[in-house]
Symmetry: C2
Subunit: 242 residues, 2 copies
């Protein structure tokens, strides 16, 4: 397919889970477009993103589901992204306006980043308008009223699986550290926090802004528990605030 | 004043500048509350936050302006925050519902964090509901379509005044580095980027989402220019994306 597509393409961030945390722009665009691609876990009937959008009452025939496996294995969803990318490019050439909806922010650890690669393989000049969304980081801090950064403080955002052993070093330099996807290494994190001399307060959050939300301040009480994918820990240096 | 205040208090993030990047929740709460405290630069007639809210057409008598000096000197606005805090607590006890509106996110380098300290001095048990906003970090990345983080990448957010000399070390470890408030040290940043062996792409953005927005990919072209307060640079490691 050559030439400039007729339709507009949007990557739309839906925010962390609470439908009210959609932006006005996201809402307008989702109402305006012809198709909304909705990535979701194949195992679930209603995707997480779909649940966020439910209160908008958009017509069901607007939605195109993209069934993904939630896995850390990079290649496993490639075919699904590739076929979604082809369908999107074909739709745009047929004059459809299309949005890819993702929970959180489209550029922050999101399904859109995998799709984007496939899209640009097929259509390197494709214009994409990204509508930012409230990320889990800002949502988590707001939920517990913990500052992300005051004045000249530094912030680090680190997937826990790769960062646990760097924690003491990180906390020496950054006032706030967000550890994402902590479910896989939570007990190791507890051990690290126990041994290292780190004067920080911590808070655990899962499924923020949904009806399955949980906030736990006593991290040790979670030892040995099975934790979900959408889980994070905020660590904040004590006396960091002035 | 003792006892639990009657009114509810909210810290509401307005997002980076585009009125459409307000969340639906922010809009609802700003319509519902009795008073909206609007911090702004004393030198300007309409505050930045006020300009974001203008399209909502809220009644003028809802607003309470708080005139602040934009300065790096910590103490200089203390009295203004203290008197705003007193007025808020009095209002809450009189049954008013009150929002403190800030550009961006209330917990991310915001005026609210200064106010919060003063509020908690007067009323340590005050319940504050924080409504997160799109931060300049997510807005900037969306504006230029640059990933914040893919898969297991790490992200650092650093005020440029304190972080320029740490840049080579930061870029060795973090896939994306956001340098905030770069206006004061921009030429130093250019020198550092020129000398250090850092394979990264960079992008400069100012006043994102406003009619004074500027996006510059050729950083060197900005050498010697006077840059505004709301300015940031995204540095992203090349080949960081897979």
């Amino acid at each position: 397919m050559t030439g400039k597509p007729l339709g507009r393409f949007y990557a739309v961030g839906l925010g962390p889970g609470d439908p009210e945390l959609l932006t006005r722009k996201a809402e307008r665009i989702l109402r305006e477009v012809d198709w909304i691609f909705l990535p979701g876990e194949s195992a679930r009937q209603v995707s997480f993103a779909g649940a966020i959008l439910a209160p908008l009452g958009l017509p069901a025939d607007k939605f195109r589901s993209v069934s993904l496996c939630m896995t850390r294995e990079p290649g496993i969803n490639s075919d699904r992204y590739r076929s979604a990318a082809r369908e999107i490019i074909e739709g745009l050439h047929a004059g459809k306006s299309i949005a890819w909806a993702t929970e959180g922010d489209p550029l922050f650890y999101s399904t859109f980043l995998q799709l984007r690669q496939r899209l640009l393989e097929v259509a390197p000049d494709l214009e994409i308008e990204v509508v930012p969304g409230i990320s889990s980081v800002n949502a988590a801090a707001a939920r517990v009223g913990m500052p992300v950064a005051v004045r000249d403080e530094k912030v680090a955002i680190v997937p826990a699986t790769y960062g646990i052993d760097c924690l003491p070093k990180l906390l020496a330099e950054f006032a706030t550290v967000f550890l994402l996807k902590v479910h896989l290494v939570f007990d190791q994190l507890l051990d690290m926090l126990g041994t290292a001399d780190m004067a920080c307060e911590g808070c655990y959050l899962e499924n923020i802004g949904t009806d399955r939300e949980r906030v736990v301040h006593d991290l040790e009480s979670l030892r040995g528990q099975k934790l979900p994918y959408f889980s994070l820990v905020i660590l904040r240096k004590l006396a960091g605030e002035t």
